[in-house]
Symmetry: C2
Subunit: 198 residues, 2 copies
């Protein structure tokens, strides 16, 4: 857990600015999350940014415990998000530790965060958690029209996923030449920033 208010980090204000300037594009809130599979090969998929956890720097994502991502993260809890903003032509690479808040996670405060994240989802997003098992042979069409799940209490397979950044690499393609900054979290949880070559 990172105790400092997130906005004290420069990368947080740069990222907030990018999100704001790309807000008209739905995909402005999508990024690609890389993880490592038990066989040592990488995996990569698009996920939706669900905001930050309270006053921390941890990025919220959701996942289904029936997905491969869930098992991968239990095995190797590191991830790197690659977030490319198409309007402002800039990239944030965010390396951090991943924590899965599943139905059995013992922390009451994080269970509250899991519950509130569920309640903030759209009906369509919630519905996917009662669809047939992801990745298995295609089920019959009627199985994709189940009764809607409870909008308040999440089903057991709904997980909140947290990415706690330790390094952020910010590249602006628009610079002349391009601008690039490297933000690193030190052991005392403060952040240092250096300007590096693109």
């Amino acid at each position: 857990m990172n105790p400092e208010p997130g906005l004290q980090c420069n990368w947080r204000s740069s990222l907030a600015r990018a999100i704001h300037h790309n807000r008209k594009e739905a995909h402005g809130r999508y990024f690609q999350l890389a993880t490592v599979k038990p066989d040592g090969r990488p995996a990569n998929r698009t996920v939706v940014f669900r905001g930050f956890l309270d006053d921390t720097n941890q990025l919220k994502i959701i996942t289904d415990a029936r997905n491969q991502k869930y098992q991968q993260i239990l095995h190797q809890p590191w991830g790197e998000a690659c977030w490319y903003f198409t309007v402002t032509r800039e990239q944030f690479r965010i390396e951090g530790e991943l924590t899965v808040i599943d139905v059995n996670h013992p922390d009451d405060k994080l269970q509250l965060a899991r519950n509130s994240t569920w309640r903030e989802l759209s009906d369509n997003a919630r519905l996917q958690f009662v669809w047939p098992h992801p990745g298995e042979n295609r089920a019959n069409p009627e199985e994709f029209s189940p009764p809607p799940p409870d909008a308040v209490n999440p089903p057991a397979n709904f997980c909140l996923l947290l990415l706690d950044p330790v390094q952020v690499d910010h590249l602006e393609l628009r610079g002349e030449p391009q601008n690039r900054w490297l933000y690193e979290r030190d052991e005392d949880l403060t952040w240092t920033t250096i300007s590096v070559n693109p």
Copy 2:
């Protein structure tokens, strides 16, 4: 190497269609490439698709031998591309083996491909290979205005990177419900396709 003509795979025609329908967006040719670092953690960055190698299924990417990506791939030659198309709202996850064609690669045919990829770059893209060392402390502005490199013969740090797919996971968000197909390359290099739950 995959001897079969690429367009015999269904994923190739689906991907060609996606590229075509997203051609007006420059970022339609960008995807995120995940690799694994020597410390076992994932890395992820945006790269530019440079077409397929001749009549194979191998995706061409370029990289600079001075980049961390180069060392990572020599250590662990597997990658997963995640290619999200914003106009058609579909995602291709392409898992495959990576091959770095650097200046010392012994295969003459692949050196020709490295040379031709260099010649097809824009002047601006070529210029980045004579910029100061990527990732190091920011150099003085004048170092970013070097004499342009030879447009025919690539510099020693220019590498062609090939991703040879073994599995492709295609997700269409627009379906009702979403459509998802899994393409897998068998040991005899033929491809099988199954329709799976999103």
